[in-house]
Each structure stands twice: as structure tokens, then as C-alpha cells.
Symmetry: C2
Subunit: 202 residues, 2 copies
């Protein structure tokens, strides 16, 4: 695709570096910005640059924050003895949206992946192990996606957490999603959901 | 969806104003930028702002350009007596990519749409009518999408072009797309493709 202008070519090249955005979509976005008020492009560019350069990470849980301590860690009403370990900031947002969790978080910043060259030392694992005795944590919930890499990370963490015999370790429940059809569930999930069946109150 | 940071909330809000980008996609883009090198965000923001504020439009054909005259109008090898009228810059890029057209363009900047409040005076129609005698144009090709608004615009232009009885007016051929299946074509297209059948050389 050839463009009549170097400026638009640069903009398209930059936009199409974003995940899931190809050159056609990038061109559509660029032309949309050209047609819209110039203020909207200015505020988009400013918001992106501001986010990238001014954002900080919480010193305790490594969640994104505007200050040194994120709003979750700063909240005195939350249960600071229960920590939910997630790989990514997106997982914090997802769990927060359920309104079902009252504890605090610990964001690893990824999962162990030898293929991508990510080892335990690249993740926030040491800071978790340091945090447990310091913050008198009683339960660690491993909320890591059940992929190959996620399971490796969970296994590694479980072994490391043996250091603290008094701390409970749990993982989020696996099973059939609410509203999911049994016949479309994969065999491993369905198998686990039968083995780990829950007794109903009666 | 609640975000742990105002900065990321602003970035997501700005990104999700773009067409086809919802809040979940916007968050994915924002987190991608946060993980990537800070240079990539800076160059994206700069490319967008530069494009929006420095881009100019060709004085002759209203295509986007880096200078006062676009590269197509400046090209002496092209046929300046043949002008292809399109609604949008995207159409110029699409036609250029076919490498089948050697004339010049005229970008209207939209189509007549009473619902959106776009009348003939909002489009580059007067400049087209002025350009025809000035540039000694011999053929006007109407390459406007065959939608309700596009057809209205083409009809309006055809009437206005009666002023110049020596100028040929043509429209791009309608018919079954190359590789298209007859049974899936809509009735109007199929009907027109039979009425306007082309005699084969033999």
C-alpha cells in the first residue's frame, strides 16, 4: 500500500505496531483522526505519552498506580492478610470487576517461560517471598491462567512457599464456566470438574 | 470497568474513541504500550500529532499531501485531462493500488447526505467545476460508492457537469466481483451485470 503523504505513512506504521491492528485498520484510524477535530488527536497523543511516562507501580503489589501505593494496598478496609497472586495487571482489573474479593494482590509481571527467556528472577517472586512475613500474610491465592507456563509458575511458587508452613495456599477453582454447555467443555476441564465436585448444602 | 490509575483510565478513554476500538481493546493497547519500550509510545504520540497538525491538502485535487501539490498532481507523466472523482482519500489509495489508472483525481471529501447535514456546498464540488475548464479536462470518471448517498452525489454531479457538453462522463463498471459466486450476488448487481453485459472479442 502506497500513501500520498509521508506523515500519514509514519502514523500508519506506528499504529500498525499495536497488537491486533493491521495496516488497513491503522489507515482507517489515521483518517478518522484527520477528519475529527484536531483537539482529539492532541488529547490522544498527550494521554498516551502521559500514561507511559508518568505511571508508577505500587511498591507493595506492583500494580499500576498514580502514587507510590496503589488504591487497593492503601485501602484499610481490605484484608491485608490475604494476597492474590496474578501474572498481569489485567487480571487485577478482571478480579476487581467481580466485586468478590476483599484481599490484596501481588502482580508477578508475567509467567515463567523458558521459550521467551523469562525466568523466576524476571518476575516479582522475591518481593512476594519477602512480603509474606513482613505483612503477616495468612493465605496466598494463586490466580494464574492454567496454561503450560502458568502451571509451571504456580508449581514453582508452591515449592517456594513451603518456606512458610503456616501460610495457606489455594488456587482459583477450575471447572465448567457459568452458562457453559457440558458437551462443549474440553475433556480435562470436565474431568477435573467431576473429580473436584462440590458437595451441595441440603 | 474500574482502573487502578487515572492515567491509564484517560488513555483507555481516548483510545476507545477511535472507530472499532472498545474499552477492552483499548486497555489491551494501553497495557501493550506500558510493557513496550517507552520510545515506542513517544514515537506513536509524535507521529499522530505530526500527522494531524502538519498534513496539508493538495490545492488542486484535495488529496492529502506533504506539500501544496500532491505527488499525483505533480507527476507530469500522468494524464491530466482525465479526472477521477472520489469521495474519500481512502478511495485514491485503493485505486492507486490497482496500478490501472493513469489520470488524476479529485477528492470530494464526502458524499451528499441530508441526514448528516452534508450538502453540496460542504464538498469540493465547486472546485471541480472550476477545475474542468482550467485544466482542459476531457473525461470525468465518477468513482463513488453505489450507496444511497453516493448515487445522490453522482446524480447531482452529472447534472452539474451538463455545463460542459464536451466533457465525457463515465462511472466505474458495476457487476459481479472477480472471484465472486453468482448465487451469492444480490439481485440488483446481478440484474445490472446482465443488462450491461460486455461483448467478448472473438
Amino acid at each position: 500500500m502506497e500513501f500520498p503523504s509521508k506523515l500519514i505513512e509514519n502514523a500508519v506504521a506506528e499504529l500498525s505496531k499495536l497488537p491486533g491492528i493491521g495496516r488497513k485498520t491503522a489507515l482507517r484510524l489515521a483518517l478518522h483522526l484527520l477528519k475529527a477535530e484536531s483537539d482529539s488527536t492532541a488529547s490522544l497523543a498527550e494521554a498516551l505519552a502521559k500514561m507511559r511516562f508518568e505511571i508508577t507501580y505500587c511498591h507493595t503489589c506492583h500494580n499500576i498506580a498514580d502514587t507510590e501505593e496503589c488504591s487497593i494496598c492503601a485501602n484499610k478496609l481490605r484484608d491485608h492478610a490475604m494476597v492474590c497472586v496474578v501474572s498481569d495487571i489485567r487480571d487485577v482489573i478482571a478480579i476487581e470487576n467481580t466485586s468478590q474479593y476483599q484481599g490484596v494482590y501481588h502482580v508477578l509481571g508475567g509467567v515463567i517461560s523458558p521459550i521467551e527467556g523469562i525466568g523466576p528472577s524476571d518476575l516479582q517472586i522475591d518481593s512476594l517471598l519477602k512480603r509474606i512475613p513482613e505483612s503477616e500474610i495468612k493465605e496466598v491465592i494463586l490466580a494464574i491462567s492454567p496454561t503450560m507456563e502458568g502451571d509451571t509458575t504456580a508449581f514453582y511458587l508452591t515449592r517456594k512457599l513451603r518456606e512458610f508452613p503456616d501460610v495457606h495456599i489455594s488456587t482459583i477453582a477450575r471447572g465448567i464456566p457459568v452458562g457453559g454447555e457440558l458437551e462443549y467443555a474440553d475433556e480435562i476441564t470436565l474431568g477435573r470438574s467431576i473429580v473436584e465436585r462440590q458437595r451441595q448444602a441440603r
